[in-house]
Symmetry: C2
Subunit: 218 residues, 2 copies
DNA sequence: GCTCATTGCTACATGTCTGTAGCAACACAG
DNA sequence: CTGTGTTGCTACAGACATGTAGCAATGAGC
């Protein structure tokens, strides 16, 4: 009989290894987001690409290598987005307003998250079954980021003349920013970014020291 | 030969079903905390109690039922702890200071978490492989709690004369409280509870409407 | 059109966990 | 000490995912 009814599988289109690799990673990410990481099975990823298991093993040594590659890619994307978001600690004479620095940073961060939700979902709202290695790596990056925010806080609180624990302040800002990002991801469309930045600005304004001290002693 | 060397298994002590059930659940919780939920395997739980698999099946219909029971127990414990923490919305004439209400609530919450870390760890720092059903249930409870906090915020912000979005304020307080609790759990001993309550009080004091420059940015 | 390196497929062997059936040890009542 | 019900054990069968070996289809270059 002619192969008019290729019941099993219609011999998938051939792809060069690099493209296949990318395609498989994207499919794996979709599976993780929609049905959890435990749904990232060799068979599952292969099916999602209309391909059989040995094809996956052609691109990744084993399931662990696939997951590692997925985490690598997400981390890479997130970090490159973050690099554009966070300002350096301003120099001594810099006239930048600390409050506006925070608001601008929050705005940029939230827009970056909204612009690439698939990547940030995996980081901020880890789907079921996320590998421990991934949590470890995102937490390591969080610590680095926190260190940077701590530097900014030292500078900003001093400049503002606000007497607050800089460590906890940095952590609070970070926690709230991630919380806002989670709301954005969980319910896109409901929360315009300005909703959060306006709120942030209101709080900072409310916290303005009523009688501002001397701007700088030299 | 005498059974001097019971190589395989020394016939575990017999327990009535209720006690066995509790023991199995505790062992499962330990496994989840130490090695992730995927380590909760029938065999693993049984071994941890010095028992064989059919004993587990005597107490739970299957693995899913075991996990459900574990989630039930955690939820129950957490909710009964929370019930003692959160105050009702004060009546109209009540002279309670809103800021002190927040600080006292935070204090009580953090102490409740510190008093039962195994329960709260599972909720606030879900180990690897946590079942989606569990996340769904804790999130449902979070929504309820948030509703209550929203009521308190409406009252407190009005009474204080602070013009802030009550919904976001409630969410912010909740997010920060959970963040503080996570720090407590992740690194017990490093963070005295007063560290957080003092910081919280400092912020609220700084936000006292002493000299609000302009209420709204046109 | 043929050749041949490349890409994908079928089929197998293995390991780990689940869930069940039927037997064996214990301990308490009398 | 002996019966009897309860609790635990050994042993089996099946599901599902992994990872591998060897064959088959494809299509670009001559």
């Amino acid at each position: 009989m002619a192969p008019a009814t290729p019941l099993k599988r219609p011999y998938a289109a051939r792809l060069p290894p690099d493209e296949r690799r990318d395609q498989l990673l994207s499919a794996a990410l979709d599976l993780a987001i929609e049905r959890g990481f435990h749904a990232i099975t060799i068979e599952g990823v292969a099916r999602a690409c209309g391909v059989t298991r040995p094809v996956v093993y052609g691109c990744f040594a084993d399931r662990t290598a696939l997951l590692d590659a997925l985490v690598d890619r997400s981390e890479e994307r997130a970090l490159s987005a973050l690099a554009a978001v966070f300002p350096d600690v301003p120099a001594d004479g810099d006239p930048t307003d600390p409050d506006e620095l925070i608001v601008a940073g929050l705005d940029a961060y939230l827009r970056a998250v909204a612009a690439d939700p698939r990547t940030w979902r995996v980081i901020l709202l880890p789907p079921e079954g996320a590998p421990a290695a991934m949590a470890a790596r995102t937490n390591a990056q969080r610590r680095l980021l926190l260190r940077h925010l701590r530097g900014l806080s030292d500078w900003g609180l001093a400049r503002r003349g606000t007497a607050l624990d800089a460590d906890l302040f940095a952590r609070a800002v970070f926690t709230l920013a991630e919380g806002a990002a989670r709301l954005l991801l969980a319910d896109p469309g409901r929360w315009p970014v300005e909703h959060f930045t306006d709120f942030c600005r209101s709080i900072l304004v409310a916290m303005r020291p009523g009688a501002p001290p001397e701007p700088k002693p030299a």
